[in-house]
C-alpha cells in the first residue's frame, strides 16, 4: 500500500505542471536571475588597484613602503615631468611629490582620488605626530616608546574564518529559505486529498478501507523526500554550476535544508488543516505567509532583516525562512557553532509543534457538512 501511494504521489507531482513549476522549477529560475543580477552588481563595484605616480626624491623609500603595504596602489616611480605627462594622458589617477612636504596632484575628483588622499592624509598625520613627539621628547627614540605605541594596530577585524566575504550571498540565503518554504504547498495538496469536505476525490479516498491518516502520512513523506531532493539539487546548482560561494560547509547546509523542508511541509500541513475554507483560500494564505517570511528574512532588502532584528527579535526566532537564512549565514561566517545549531533546533521544534497540531486537527475527523 505504501509503495502504491508513493508511486502515485510522485506521478501526481510530476504531472501537476503548475505545482511542479512554482515549487520546484521557479526557485531555479529565480536563483539564476538573482545570480545574473547580483553578479553584475558585484562586478560593478569591484575595487581595482589605483595607478599612482611617485616623483623621485630622497625620501621616497619610506613613502613607497607605506603605500605598497596598503595593497591598494600600482606605484610608478618617475620624474615630475613624466608624472605630469602620464596624468595628462590618463595613465595615472594622480601623483605624489615628497620634497619638504608631501603633495598629491590630481586632474579630477573621484573615488580613487579620495582613497589616495585619505591614505596619504593618514600617513602625513601619523608622521607629523611622531615628529612632534620626538621634538618634544627626544628620549623616546632610545627608550622603546614607539615599540609599545599601537600606531598600526587594527581595532576591527572581519571574523571570517572559513571563506571569503561576499555580501550578496545573503540574498541567496533568503532565496533558499523561501524555496524551502514553498514545500508547504505540497502539504496543502496532501491535505486536500484526505479532507472529504474539500473534494469528491477526497470523499472517495475517505471511504476506502484504509485510515486516511495513513494515506496522509505516506503522501506527506513522499512530498518531504521529493521537496528535499529538489532543494538539494537547487543548492548544488547554486554551489557547483553558478559557483555562488556558500563556504565549505556543504554537509551542514544540506542538513539545514532537510530540516527546513521538514518544517515547511509540517507548517503547511498544520495551516491547511486548521484553515476552514477552500483549497484556494488555503493556498492564498500559505503563499502570503511564505512571502511575508521571506520579506522579513531580507530577501528584498537586507535592511529589513536588520530592522526586524533590532525591533522585533522574536520574529527572527519564529520565522522559518529567517531561521534557514540565518543558519546559512551562521555557517558561512562562523561555521557550525552555537548560532547555527540554535536555528536548526528552533526549526526542528517548529516542525514538531506543527506535526502535533496537525495530528490533533485530523484526529477522528468527521464532517458536519460536505
Amino acid at each position: 500500500m505504501f509503495l502504491h501511494i508513493v508511486i502515485y504521489k510522485i506521478k501526481y507531482i510530476l504531472t501537476d505542471k503548475a505545482t511542479l513549476f512554482w515549487i520546484t522549477i521557479f526557485p531555479f529560475v529565480l536563483a539564476t536571475l538573482f545570480f545574473i543580477t547580483l553578479n553584475n552588481v558585484s562586478n560593478s563595484v569591484k575595487l581595482e588597484k589605483i595607478d599612482l605616480g611617485i616623483v623621485r626624491s630622497e625620501y621616497q623609500d619610506e613613502l613607497i613602503k607605506i603605500l605598497e603595504d596598503s595593497n591598494m596602489f600600482n606605484l610608478n616611480v618617475l620624474s615630475e615631468e613624466e608624472a605630469k605627462d602620464s596624468l595628462n594622458a590618463g595613465k595615472l589617477v594622480g601623483y605624489v611629490t615628497n620634497d619638504e612636504n608631501i603633495k598629491l596632484f590630481f586632474q579630477s575628483n573621484g573615488i580613487f582620488q579620495n582613497i589616495s588622499k585619505f591614505i596619504l592624509d593618514s600617513y602625513i598625520q601619523t608622521t607629523s605626530t611622531i615628529q612632534n613627539i620626538i621634538i618634544e621628547n627626544p628620549d623616546v627614540l632610545t627608550n622603546g616608546f614607539f615599540n609599545e605605541l599601537p600606531i598600526n594596530k587594527t581595532y576591527s577585524t572581519p571574523k571570517n574564518l572559513l571563506s571569503n566575504t561576499n555580501v550578496t550571498v545573503v540574498f541567496f540565503y533568503a532565496l533558499i529559505g523561501m524555496a524551502v518554504m514553498f514545500g508547504a504547498s505540497h502539504s496543502i495538496n496532501d491535505v486536500k486529498l484526505i479532507q472529504a469536505n474539500q473534494s469528491s476525490t477526497a470523499a472517495r479516498i475517505s471511504i476506502a478501507p484504509i485510515n486516511p491518516s495513513k494515506i496522509f502520512f505516506y503522501t506527506l513523506t513522499t512530498s518531504l523526500v521529493f521537496h528535499t531532493l529538489s532543494l538539494w539539487l537547487m543548492f548544488l546548482y547554486l554551489n557547483n554550476i553558478l559557483k555562488v560561494d556558500f563556504g565549505n560547509q556543504v554537509l551542514y547546509i544540506l542538513v539545514l535544508i532537510t530540516v527546513g523542508c521538514f518544517t515547511s511541509i509540517m507548517i503547511g500541513a498544520f495551516l491547511a488543516s486548521i484553515i476552514k475554507g477552500s483549497y484556494n483560500l488555503k493556498n492564498g494564505v500559505l503563499i502570503a505567509f511564505t512571502m511575508l517570511c521571506s520579506f522579513l528574512a531580507g530577501m528584498n532588502s537586507t535592511d529589513i532583516k536588520m530592522m526586524v532584528m533590532d525591533n522585533a527579535k522574536f520574529l527572527t526566532y519564529i520565522n522559518p525562512v529567517g531561521l534557514i537564512s540565518d543558519g546559512l549565514y551562521a555557517l558561512y561566517y562562523y561555521g557550525p557553532g552555537y548560532r547555527f545549531y540554535l536555528s536548526l533546533s528552533i526549526l526542528i521544534v517548529l516542525g514538531i509543534l506543527s506535526s502535533v497540531g496537525t495530528f490533533f486537527a485530523f484526529r477522528r475527523q468527521e464532517y458536519a457538512s460536505i
Binding site: H4, T201, P209
Partner: protein, 312 residues
Amino acid sequence: MIVEIKNLVKRYDDLIALDHLNLEIKEGEIFGLLGPNGSGKSTAINCILSLLKYDKGEINIFNKPMRPNSYDIKKDIGIVMQNVAVIDGLTVYENIDYFCGLYVTDKEKRKKLIDEAIDFVGLNEFSKMKPKKLSGGLLRRLNIACGIAHKPRLIMMDEPTVAVDPQSRNNILDGIKKLNSEGATIIYTSHYMEEVEQLCTKIAILDNGRVIALGTKEELKSLISTGEIIVVEAYNLTEMHLKDIREFPHLMDISYLNNKLTLRFKSDKSCLVNIINYIESKEIVYGKIYSEQPTLNDVFLQLTGKVLRNNV
C-alpha cells in the same frame, strides 16, 4: 439485510436534512432513493458512508454498525459520486488503478479487475487518456469505473447520470443492471423518475428528509387514486361535449385547454375505446390521441402536492 437505517436524524443548524429516516435494503436489490433536490438523498448517502456526522440514529451495514473506521465494511462498498471524483494528472487506467489499489493490494489481481472495469464501462480505447481530454459522458463512465473496479458487494450511486447525454445515460443504466445481475446490491439516488422506474426493484420517495412512500413502483402507484390518463388533441369541443364526457364512469378529473383534452380516471381499467367511440359518434375533429399510465411524478404530486422536478 445489507443496509439498515434506524431513526436517522441529521441537522444543519435549524434545517432538518434527515428526519427520523428509516430504511431497510436487502441483498440483490436496486434500491432507489427518489426525491427532489434538497430532499436529503445525498445527505443520507454521506451519513451511510460515515462521511457526515449525524445527530441521532443507527446505521448498520452487512449487519454491523457503520463507523468511520469500519474498514472491514468499507472494503465491500463502492461509491459513484455525484461529482466526478478522479485525479486530473493521472490517465484513465492510472485513476482506476489508484482507487482500486486502496482496496486490492495484489498487483496481478488488481490488473485483472482494472481491465474488467475498463471493459465494463467501455473505455478501452481511452485508457491512456487523461480525464481533461474526455467528454462529459466518458468522464462519468470513468467515475463509475473508479467506484466499482474492486467488485464491491454494495454500490452507492449518487445521481451518476447528471449532465450525461442520452446515449451515455443508457450505457450507464445498462451497466448498473449488469452489476446487479452479477450480485451487487445498489443504492441509487436520482431525481430522474424515469431512471428510477426503469432500474429500481424498490423505491423510497424522500421529501424534507423523510420517507413519504416506500415499495416497488407498482406498489407506489397503487398508493394514489389516479389511474389511466387519456390525452386527446380535440378541436371545436363544446360545453355539451364536455358535459357528456364528465358523465363517463371512473372519471376523476377533466381539463380542456388549447385544444388539449386531458382526462384522468380513477380505475386502472382502460377507457380509451369508450373515448374514441364518443369522439367519432359526435364527429369531433381530432388529431393525436394517447393513453398514459401514472408515473412516479404523479405519485409524488399526489403525496406532496408538488412536482418531483421542474425540468422534466
